[in-house]
């Protein structure tokens, strides 16, 4: 008993310090994260469940939801395909300019979303680089849904690739080589070996990508131009709130918050799955025996 008491004292902090530290962090999270979330739902349902659904049952609300789903529905699959291709190239091949490619993938993380939106205005806007040509063919990109989709694609660009690159680098390409040596084609190798190995990481990236696609505000706000037909859910929340319609604003916000919670739950589950898989990989990977050096004696 004495020994355990001693070792406990040696390795852990005093009780009061632990209580203070845990209390502080729990308090901090409660005030800054949990409380606002609770307020969103409380405000949404303040006027009753009936009002909640009345605010939802509104053409403008549905339009916003549709635009959001469209933007996510296009950008997520696009970035999924791109992410898999880019991380495949980065993890399995050596080529010139690889580090530049990795840096470029991170670009949307580095620049402010507002700038991402502005880039597209400068490119496709009426005064922009392609503005005249587009106007001549009557194609609307900026202040229209295509602009929103473009901005969303740009902002959510890194999520899948960022998730897959370390995973694929860790796994190496021995299994792919084995598949090829057994006569599998490149496509068979991808479907039967590569994809099953990255599926959890891929799903994780897709969920994060989707959450961002649906929740993006800054970049989309710039290209949407505050027109009623081009509101996404986050933009619509702002419009409602600025129009003194707090209950409706909170109703829409609660949808986004719900999406966030679902994402969080899925993320936790997938993180656990990915960890499990990595651990299984480690079990399969025994470190190589060190080279046997012949002993030499010299006189």
């Amino acid at each position: 008993m004495a020994a355990t008491a001693k070792s406990r004292r040696a390795t852990s902090d005093p009780l009061w310090l632990r209580i203070v530290l845990i209390g502080l962090s729990v308090g901090f999270i409660s005030v800054l994260l949990v409380l606002p979330l609770a307020v969103v739902f409380a405000e949404a349902f303040r006027a009753g469940v009936g009002t909640y659904f009345t605010s939802l049952n509104n053409p403008a609300a549905w339009r916003a939801i549709r635009v959001t789903l469209l933007a996510a529905g296009i950008s997520v699959p696009l970035n999924l395909v791109f992410g898999v291709i880019a991380s495949w190239a980065i993890a399995k091949f050596e080529f010139r300019g690889k580090s530049i490619l990795i840096t470029l993938i991170d670009l949307p993380f580095a620049v402010s979303p507002v700038i991402s939106g502005l880039i597209y205005v400068l490119l496709f806007g009426l005064q922009g680089l392609f503005g005249k040509a587009l106007a001549a063919y009557n194609i609307e990109i900026i202040f229209a849904v295509p602009g929103i989709v473009l901005a969303t694609v740009f902002v959510t660009f890194p999520f899948v690739a960022r998730e897959l690159i370390p995973l694929m680098q860790e796994q190496g390409d021995e299994e792919e080589q084995a598949a090829l040596s057994l006569g599998a084609s490149g496509l068979q190798t991808f479907w039967r070996v590569t994809l099953p190995n990255i599926k959890w990481g891929l799903l994780y990236g897709v969920i994060l990508c989707n959450a961002r696609a649906m929740g993006e505000f800054g970049a989309v706000s710039v290209v949407a131009g505050h027109r009623s037909g081009t509101n996404t859910v986050p933009l619509y929340v702002e419009v409602l709130y600025n129009g003194w319609n707090a209950p409706a604003a909170f109703t829409m916000a609660s949808i986004l918050a719900l999406l966030g919670l679902v994402t969080l739950a899925a993320k936790t589950f997938l993180e656990w799955k990915v960890q499990q898989q990595l651990r299984a990989d480690e079990l399969t990977d025994v470190s190589p025996a060190t080279a046997l050096e012949p002993a030499t004696a010299e006189v």
Binding site: A178, G183, R192, T284, V286, P288, A289, P294, V299
Partner: protein
């Protein structure tokens, strides 16, 4: 099926992994590529498999049974490749791992499910893992995994079996067992096989012929007995087991070095010029220990350590100049001498080899 590689070179940037290597492996032979890490043995194996492309050279060629396969992709060479770290498909069961090569065949060549089932069952019996077909690789031991990897490679009925340090990641006991099993398997199947290893014991024990490689080149090709007893170079003798190196020169057909002379010398392929500085190579079991000088030349040395645990008593000695000598004495001789650490004895050589050192300006 015989394998012939001619004038194969491979460079990775400024690093030369293979330098104009040529080699022939006869039909049904088991050949070991032996060498330290960085000697190019794995690169050579991967080039034969088609997993690596050799440098473009007009004279370079790879023949499988007389056919040049240099331009064929790995999947079309019909080679069974076994990786050091198994490279089993983690998400597939043992059964599906072995069946993989059959399932990915084009439809017209693909066996029926029943045929696949029979084939895999037969292979599971061959690797002595009957009944474990439903397990996953993570549920198997290292030795079992490597046997599955071997069965998976054999499932496609390869004309050539290539093994890249197959037992490198296993512990000594399992290694020994698998080694013997692989040899028996080879005697049964007679598939032309090339095994890469850095373990000289493994190479000498398993292979019909051993190819000793060093610094991107082949040093010697021969049967295990040939390379062990008649090493062609300093590197080969140094790499194949422990060896004592003495400095000395040749006088009147005798090697002379600090009082030690050996009359019965076995020279390497280079004739040693007289009176030039040489290295004299003596294996630990070719040295003899005497308590007193008996007329034959000997070096006085201090017994530093004795390890009698083994077939030989391993004696480590130190000379007055501070050099180390290692002697393997038969246990009987060791007991007869009654050696103690700290005493001074005389070391003489029964046999030694001389190679002319590289000419350095």
């Amino acid at each position: 099926m015989s394998i012939t590689v001619e004038h194969i070179s491979k460079t990775f940037g400024s690093y030369t992994a293979l330098d104009d290597v040529s080699l022939t492996v006869n039909d049904g032979e088991l050949v070991a590529l032996l060498g330290p890490s960085g000697s190019g043995k794995t690169t050579l194996l991967r080039i034969i498999a088609g997993l690596e492309i050799p440098d473009d050279h007009e004279r370079s060629a790879i023949y499988f049974h007389g056919q040049n396969v240099a331009r064929r992709q790995v999947g079309q060479r019909q080679v069974g490749f076994v990786f050091q770290h198994y490279a089993l498909f983690k998400h597939l069961s043992v059964f599906e791992n072995i069946a993989f090569g059959l399932r990915v065949r084009p439809r017209r060549l693909r066996p029926t499910n029943q045929q696949i089932h029979d084939k895999v069952t037969e292979l599971l019996r061959l690797i002595q893992l009957e009944g474990l077909g439903r397990r996953y690789p993570s549920q198997l031991s290292g030795g079992q995994r490597q046997r599955v990897a071997l069965a998976r490679a054999l499932a496609i009925e390869p004309k050539v079996l290539l093994l890249d340090e197959p037992f490198g990641a296993l512990d000594a006991k399992v290694r020994q067992g698998l080694r013997n099993w692989l040899r028996r398997l080879h005697d049964e199947l007679h598939v032309t096989s090339i095994l890469v290893t850095h373990d000289q014991e493994e190479a000498l024990e398993v292979a019909d012929r051993v190819v000793v490689m060093n610094q991107a080149r082949i040093e010697q090709v021969g049967t295990p007995a040939e390379v062990f007893h008649h090493p062609a170079s300093e590197f080969v003798i140094d790499f194949l087991g422990n060896v004592n190196v003495f400095h000395g020169r040749i006088e009147h057909g005798k090697a002379v070095l600090s009082g030690l002379a050996v009359s019965d010398r076995t020279a390497g392929k280079d004739a040693s010029p007289e009176n030039r500085k040489n290295h004299l190579y003596v294996r630990p079991h070719e040295l003899e220990i005497e308590r007193r000088l008996n007329g034959s030349p000997a070096i006085p040395a201090l017994v530093a350590r004795i390890n009698p645990a083994g077939a030989f008593a391993k004696i480590a000695l130190t000379t007055h100049e501070g050099g180390d000598i290692q002697v393997d004495l038969p246990l009987e001789r060791y007991e007869q001498l009654g050696l103690q650490t700290g005493e001074t004895v005389f070391v003489s050589a029964k046999k030694a080899r001389i190679f002319t050192p590289d000419y350095v300006i």
